[in-house]
Subunit: 426 residues, 2 copies
Amino acid sequence: MSEFAKLSRPELEGLQEKLRTRYRQFQTKGLTLDMTRGKPSPEQLDLANDMLALPGADHFRDDQGTDLRNYGGLDGLPAMKQIFADLISVAPEHIIVGGNSSLALMHDVILRAMLFGVPGGQGPWREISNLAFLCPCPGYDRHFAICEMLGIRMITLPMLPTGPDMDAVEQHLRDDSAIRGIWIVPKYSNPTGITCNAATVKRLAEMKAAPDFRIFWDNAYCVHDLQEPGDDLADLMQACISAGNTERPIMFASTSKISFAGSGIAAMALGPESRKQAIDLASKQTIGPDKINQWRHVQFFQDAAGVRAHMRRHAELLRPRFAAVQDVFEKELGGRGVATWTQPRGGYFVSLDVMPGCAREVVRLAGEAGVKLTAAGATYPGGQDPEDQNLRIAPSLPGAEEIKIAMEVVSVCVKLAAIGRILKTN
Amino acid sequence: MSEFAKLSRPELEGLQEKLRTRYRQFQTKGLTLDMTRGKPSPEQLDLANDMLALPGADHFRDDQGTDLRNYGGLDGLPAMKQIFADLISVAPEHIIVGGNSSLALMHDVILRAMLFGVPGGQGPWREISNLAFLCPCPGYDRHFAICEMLGIRMITLPMLPTGPDMDAVEQHLRDDSAIRGIWIVPKYSNPTGITCNAATVKRLAEMKAAPDFRIFWDNAYCVHDLQEPGDDLADLMQACISAGNTERPIMFASTSKISFAGSGIAAMALGPESRKQAIDLASKQTIGPDKINQWRHVQFFQDAAGVRAHMRRHAELLRPRFAAVQDVFEKELGGRGVATWTQPRGGYFVSLDVMPGCAREVVRLAGEAGVKLTAAGATYPGGQDPEDQNLRIAPSLPGAEEIKIAMEVVSVCVKLAAIGRILKTN
């Protein structure tokens, strides 16, 4: 295959005409394919259907004998804490089990930090002039939306194959005393699919930062391996403890993409002082989370090994979907010099970089052919991708055949946009 | 029975000796009775045990066909909205169904108001100098704890048999421009058991207040009648709409004391602009609440009539417990002039006013005889009852026989404290 940039104008125009024909054929098919969000497929959800009848009519006591139908248990059932502790490799005493949403835990931690500050700090974060978060990009739009809502300045920096660009992270922390947080999806990151390597984890733990600086370690895909063995993620909590920065990490996880999205269980892990503060403040918000749903999960999964076994069945369903993306992109886009894309070993996304200046156009074209993509720019703060080139592909929800068609549409749109761009700029 | 105040010193001392003997007898029994919190009894919880097997292994679609196992549904299932709408007598379009805790909804509304303000206001509440809430007392400690956490000044005023002292409410609002909220448990109030009458509701709706003033209408006991027919609560939302103060009320309810405490469903009702803002801000916090638990509730109760039928069974269990309190108090304390208490027609509490300056002593004495009471002062902001006289009795959790013993202990303690007080001050 020839790189488009090396083709002559007549060659490009010829190709454009062929692609337009294909595009119009897609348009006549009346497609309605949604590749926007990282939602589990019905087949994945089916794997947990037995949970819908749990815990069972007379099973309302956990293994400690607690009546789970009544108030209390602010930090979670011991058995549920143990499962999360094993999944994210921390001791159970770090864990707080929350409601159904790890996003809500993140949101609430930051709202409280704005109003009350966190241990180690001088006061509420809202009093910090020009308060800022580091945002490795491309990243997760819902992280950025929390910062945007609170008026927190977002400093973008590159997401490398090894994790956040640590030279940039350390440089910003040296230059800017108003930084109090960094967003990281450390394993199978959203959207690039990378896993932070050991050197990155060590630097994150050891780097100089404000005493109330926090790493928001959104370990959403901790057991979401597509291949065996899965990527290995170094132990940030232990590294921070060893470096004397015990309160630095706040780790998040949930079963939203393990059991049921929206009816799962979320948890976070914090250093001892931060955990104490979080419990104290949460005790003003609620008498406790849904313990019966925790017990339902404990009964269904039994332990972390049960979760891992369950996730191997998820992987069987996801692998052909991710393979469909790779196959079509390789066939349609390989060697053309108009796009690069990630080949994740886990998680929920493929990150597609098209020619600079083309991402919005690809989304528009695909939408008009019935394939809905995540808005261009969504992976950057404020929805503004400075190069207008990154797209997030979420191939979990549709079936492999639908994904194949959707990716063909996307590929044609990527090529059309690229040719349009080349013809215009030459 | 003679009023204690009319007895001679030798008569009082003789009585004191007899009461001390009874008290010591209680102490030898090794009682451990907990009358502190408004928790449903196991027998009440048993009534909903069939929910523990719902919705059933293959029932994951609601009556709209939505797959409830996946993300979405931020404001709740239509069927669940309809049930809450019927229970608290508002149109469903006012309703947002939240997670498992109405306290969390209240907390989050106020935290967001502090940071962002609410429709009608000039900006964030935290920028209002000397921001204040009106707190009818005795009231609910968890309401006051939210204000305390946020540094919101609390202005106490009397809770009358008709509801908050509306003369005082209107006077404070005239005198103090920093007031932005009032806490009210409008039906079977916590702890006095009163229901706001129609005149109070009308005045609350029509009174002058800041455009961003909000009534926090915690309708926790909306269907928690002990007698039939239950108290009638006038329609605050309609009254506010009629008065042109559409955004003034924020109403809260939950099934925590209907299905399972902690595993129930919470909801709130707001005016259209406030609801829009609440949805917008909540969309940054979570992708949505637990829809399967909502559907579990819809399946179990079917509709508001189903909830009401269920609550009649609760009432059968609660009536003997509340009767035990009344019987013992009447027998032990009636006519002595040392205490007054409420005779609620619903809700979860009896409010006991002992002789001024005696409440803490009663809690101490009862505790040392194995009967744990809610801390004296808990029904006032900051835990400070200016008269040290109010106690909240929560008779739902123990059985009627245990309650009888606990109330005998409390009665003896009330009399001992009163005699001690009279002897000391004479």
